[in-house]
Symmetry: C2
Subunit: 155 residues, 2 copies
DNA sequence: CGCTTGCTTGGAGTGCGCTCCAACTCCTTA
DNA sequence: TAAGGAGTTGGAGCGCACTCCAAGCAAGCG
C-alpha cells in the first residue's frame, strides 16, 4: 500500500495523515486547486453529487475562488477517495456524514471513529462471506446449465 | 452442499432440479402448502414483498386455495431461496425478473440463463475484490486509530 | 350474531442516493 | 459587445425496492 503524504496546511496533522491513506489515481503534480468539473472527471462523481456531498456535510468544507467558485485541494481529493471506499462498502451516506462530523470535531473522537470503522469492517466481512456463498450457488447452476446443454447436444 | 430434491409435479424436471439447489433452512416436513405469513416468517421477506414479487413476475405463479388465498409450495420456497441469493449479489430486481421469464419460457433458454448467471458471477467476483480492497483500508485506519490512542494514553 | 384474525386487491407513499432544473453570475474568446 | 461555457443556488424530480393503506372477504369462535 502506498501512503501519499499530501502537503497539508498544518491543521490537524493526524487527521490529515489518516485521511490520506492510499491514493489510487495519479493526479496533476504541483497543483492544489481544482475546479468542480476537474474533480468530477477525476473521481467519477458528478458535479451535482459533489455539491450535494458538501450540502449534506460529507465534504469537510471546500475553499472558494474570489468569485465564489469551488476550488478543491489535494486534501479534498484524498477525502473523496476515502469516501469512495466507504461507499463501496455499502455504508449508508448518513453514517459517512456521521464519520465526517467526528473528523470535524477533532481528535477526541478517535475512539468513536475507530468503533464506526470496526463495525463497518465486520459488515464488510459478512458481505464478503455472503457473496462467496452466492458464488458457490452460481457456480453450481452455471455447471448445471453447461451439463444440460452438452447433454442436449449429444442426443 | 446439500441438494434437496423436492417432490415436483412433473413439469420441467430439469428446471425444477436447478431451482432447488441447496436449501439452507430446514422446513416443516411432509407439507407442501404454506400461507403467505408462513412463507414470510420462513424467508424473512414481508407478505407485502411476496405479493409484490408475484405482481412483477418474480414468482413463477402461486397456487390458490378455494377461497383465493395463496398457497406456496416447497418449490416456491426453493425459488425464493434462490432469489434471495441473487438479491444478495446485488442483482437488480429487473434482471431477476428477466431470469424468471427465461425459466418460464422453457429449456430452450438455457444458454441465455447461463450467460446471465455468468455475468452475475463476474460481477460478484469484482465486488468481492472491491470489498477486500476496502477491508485493507479499514484495517489500516483502524490500526492508525489504535496507535494514536495508545500514544495519547502513554504521554 | 358479532368479533377477531388473516388474507385479498389496486394504488399510494417512503427512504435512499442521487440527478436535474431554472435562474442567475462570472470569465473568456470572437 | 455579444455569445458561449462553466460555475452558483434552492428546490423539485427520479428510479429503485420496497412498504403501507383502505376497503373488503372468508373462516373460526363464544
Amino acid at each position: 500500500m502506498t501512503v501519499t503524504q499530501t502537503s497539508g496546511t498544518g491543521a490537524e496533522p493526524l487527521t490529515d495523515l489518516c485521511a490520506s491513506a492510499e491514493v489510487s489515481h495519479p493526479r496533476p503534480d504541483g497543483r492544489d486547486r481544482y475546479t468542480i468539473s476537474e474533480v468530477a472527471a477525476f473521481t467519477g462523481l458528478s458535479a451535482h453529487t459533489l455539491r450535494w456531498y458538501e450540502r449534506i456535510g460529507l465534504m469537510p468544507h471546500v475553499d472558494r475562488s474570489h468569485t465564489g467558485q469551488r476550488r478543491f485541494t489535494n486534501r479534498d481529493l484524498d477525502w473523496l477517495a476515502f469516501v469512495g471506499k466507504l461507499r463501496l462498502t455499502g455504508m449508508p451516506v448518513a453514517d459517512m456524514v456521521r464519520y465526517a462530523e467526528l473528523v470535524r470535531e477533532g481528535d477526541h473522537t478517535f475512539a468513536e471513529r475507530q468503533e464506526l470503522l470496526r463495525a463497518t469492517r465486520e459488515d464488510v466481512r459478512r458481505r464478503i462471506a455472503e457473496l462467496q456463498s452466492t458464488l458457490a450457488i452460481l457456480d453450481f447452476k452455471i455447471d448445471f446449465y453447461a451439463d444440460a446443454r452438452r447433454a442436449s447436444e449429444r442426443f
